[in-house]
Amino acid sequence: MAKSNPPFMSGVPELLLLRLLDNREMYGYELVRSIKEVTGEAISLGEGVIYPVLHSLERNGSLKARRKPVGGRTRVYYSLTKQGRGRLQDLQDDWRRIQGGIETALESPGHA
């Protein structure tokens, strides 16, 4: 990939994709551009990496895909399912819990 994600980024692409697709249906290229935009380019995924994630999310029922002809090309648009909304809620809760824990750890005096 153009840029590799560090190991602690595990699960982040999934969360971002679900969050973006909660607003409207999008195709892969659009999603990568949107991730760059909404994260202020702080998170730049390897562009090809999102397709395995999208296919996995579709496979587990979080997303549904449909083909749509646009400008001479057939795009595959992804949208969130009801199950996907539940998954997004769980991931958001997990993320906020971890974020809170890390912030507390960073703000507390060192124990080392």
Binding site: M1, E47, G48, V49, Y51, P52, H55, S56, V76
Partner: protein, 141 residues
């Protein structure tokens, strides 16, 4: 950097056990993504060759895409997820399909078979007619 070989990507995904529908669709999506990257670079003023090079760099290596995808068990074909079951089910399915194969071939080639049957019938009628004429000429000739 060479232009990515998207046909090769689909083949490699299938060879690594990814279900065919995911492999072909992912390869098509990635090819479209590459085209979008090229278009964006060209719109930004890059010459065509540089735009393709830049798009390939942003997309990433095909090897990485294959390993990223094949690491996901849920995307694997049924036979790769349950190899022991496949060892039993596939031979049984083939055995069951064997008697149906000629019937299927007949249905698939129905127009050809109909023409062949009609030709055979016409040839038989013609031969029978000739024999009848011969017989009559012997009897009343």
């Amino acid at each position: 950097m060479h232009e990515p070989d998207f046909h090769d990507l689909a083949t490699r995904l299938v060879q690594s056990g990814i279900a065919a529908r995911h492999a072909h669709r992912a390869a098509n999506e990635i090819r479209d993504h590459y085209d979008d990257l090229v278009d964006a670079a060209v719109n930004d003023g890059a010459p065509s060759r540089e735009a393709r090079r830049q798009a390939a760099r942003e997309l990433g290596k095909i090897d990485d895409l294959v390993s990223e995808m094949s690491a996901r068990r849920e995307l694997k074909a049924w036979a790769y997820r349950y190899p022991r079951a496949a060892l039993v089910v596939y031979p049984l399915a083939c055995l069951a399909a064997l008697p149906a194969a000629p019937v299927y071939a007949g249905i698939a080639n129905a127009p050809l078979l109909a023409r062949w049957g009609a030709s055979l019938l016409a040839a038989s009628l013609f031969t029978a007619g000739l024999l009848l004429v011969l017989q009559l000429s012997i009897l009343f000739g």
